[in-house]
């Protein structure tokens, strides 16, 4: 009996020691991007240590989420759809209401938001400073202890690194490969740039824009998120939201600030006949004043074009 006890004790000791050895052997991140990535996936930045940035910004969905709104600490639900954390290098504003103007500043909001990670920023910095691994990593990479500034820099560096330009669309347009996409995709791009008017808002390297627009999803009743106006207190901003990038959009359903559209087709149907979905919009952009009257083929072509914006490497990871 005694011998069994000793053997068990020895095995437990070996397990504990090897675990300890392995965790100490975790290589320090080589640069700010690697450090940011580690932090992005670490639950250390949430009050109950159960939520990380990646809990809502899921890599397999282009760093977005699959639910209309995402659960934070203690199951508390957020109020707006989780946007993709990728392809933000050309963005001038962050969050649906544009409350942050840099990725560094943006990174702090979810950490402190009571509905998301719920950790006061001082507590976050204290945790990182007391954590031997992170304290050493920050000193090695930034030459100083963890701070609001260096935490923001690390997380922003990781997000800056998440650019994609390897979609079939890129292969067609940038690499001049006519066979990279179907004729339907090409027709969809033509519609996108022309009769469907999508390009009026979605343009630039990531098919986003630096503007805010009201696409008619605010009526002050059942759709009562006033968007940018809640931030600016300007009535002209009622119902306005940031124009989101379209790269990898096929992976980031559901759509819009409230996640009310489950599929790309629902989105296209909405833009085609917005009054059929929201009959009493407030302050809706004049671009949506008249129905587009797209044909079934048009809709399919636009959807195929949007799907062609999916990064090939992301698609492979998903499989």
């Amino acid at each position: 009996m005694k011998i069994y006890f000793i053997v068990t004790l020895l095995i437990a000791g070996v397990v504990v020691l090897s675990n300890s050895f392995c965790s100490n052997a975790n290589a320090l991140p080589k640069d700010d991007i690697a450090l940011g990535k580690q932090l992005f996936f670490d639950t250390i930045l949430s009050s109950n240590k159960k939520i990380s940035c990646a809990s809502c910004h899921k890599p397999e969905f282009a760093f977005a989420d699959t639910s209309a709104v995402s659960p934070g600490v203690f199951g508390r639900m957020g109020v707006r759809n989780t946007p993709s954390a990728m392809n933000l290098n050309s963005a001038a504003f962050f969050f649906w209401d544009g409350r942050a103007t840099t990725l560094e500043a943006q990174a702090m909001f979810p950490i402190t938001n009571p509905l998301e990670m719920n950790l006061p920023i001082d507590s976050a910095i204290e945790r990182l400073t007391k954590n031997e691994f992170y304290n050493t990593a920050f000193q090695q990479i930034f030459g100083e202890k963890p701070s609001v500034k260096t935490l923001g820099k690390a997380l922003a560096a990781f997000q800056h690194s998440m650019e994609t330009s390897d979609s079939p669309f890129d292969e067609w347009k940038t690499n001049d490969s006519e066979s990279a996409v179907s004729e339907s995709v090409k027709r969809g791009f033509e519609l996108f740039n022309g009769d469907a008017k999508c390009v009026k808002c979605h343009f630039g390297t990531d098919f986003s824009n630096t503007e805010f627009r009201n696409i008619g999803l605010f009526n002050g009743k059942n759709l009562n998120d006033s968007g940018r106006a809640a931030l600016t207190k300007n009535t002209a901003d009622l119902g306005m939201f940031k124009i989101g990038p379209l790269r990898n959009i096929a992976l980031t359903a559901p759509y819009m600030h409230n996640g009310m559209f489950k599929t790309l087709r629902e989105v296209i149907d909405y833009y085609d006949q917005p009054d059929k979905v929201v009959g009493d919009p407030v302050n809706r952009d004049t671009l949506l004043a008249k129905p587009l009257n797209l044909s079934e083929q048009d809709k399919q072509d636009i959807e195929n074009f949007l799907r062609s914006l999916t990064s090939v490497s992301l698609e492979k990871k998903k499989l």
Binding site: N89, S165, F169, D170, K173, T174, F189, N193, G194, K197, V199, K200, F203, G204, T205, D206, E211, T286, L287
Partner: protein, 123 residues
């Protein structure tokens, strides 16, 4: 005499042809906008053009080029309208062109393009 005449005509023909070739904007060009980024523009002989920034397509438009004048249409300018521009193209030696604005309904584009020099990207 006849032979000399034919020879001179041939020279004239080929030099005119050469001149036409020089004044050809189709192909890939690089440009540095006054406002910052290094970009690329591709004029295609099917009447379309594409602008690229940092290796990604930024916008696509349509254009015609005749008598060293480029008439261009791009669907974006931060508003809801349509935006046409007309530019004179100065050919600076073999590999560079300069845009000179005649008119443009898109003021930001006019500011970016007027006086901008493009350099042909060699294959």
């Amino acid at each position: 005499m006849k032979l000399t005449f034919c020879f001179l005509i041939s020279i004239l023909f080929f030099s005119c042809r050469q001149s036409n070739n020089d004044h050809n904007i189709y192909g890939k060009w690089s440009l540095k906008f006054k406002s910052g980024p290094l970009a690329e523009v591709r004029f295609r002989n099917n009447g379309t053009h594409d602008y690229y920034v940092d290796g990604k397509l930024f916008s696509s438009g349509k254009s015609t080029f005749k008598n060293d004048t480029l008439r261009s249409y791009d669907p974006i300018c931060g508003g809801n309208g349509e935006y046409y521009g007309t530019y004179t193209i100065d050919f600076l030696g073999g590999d560079s062109i300069r845009f000179k604005a005649i008119e443009d309904s898109c003021e930001p584009r006019r500011i970016d393009m007027d006086g901008t020099v493009l350099h042909r990207i060699k294959k």
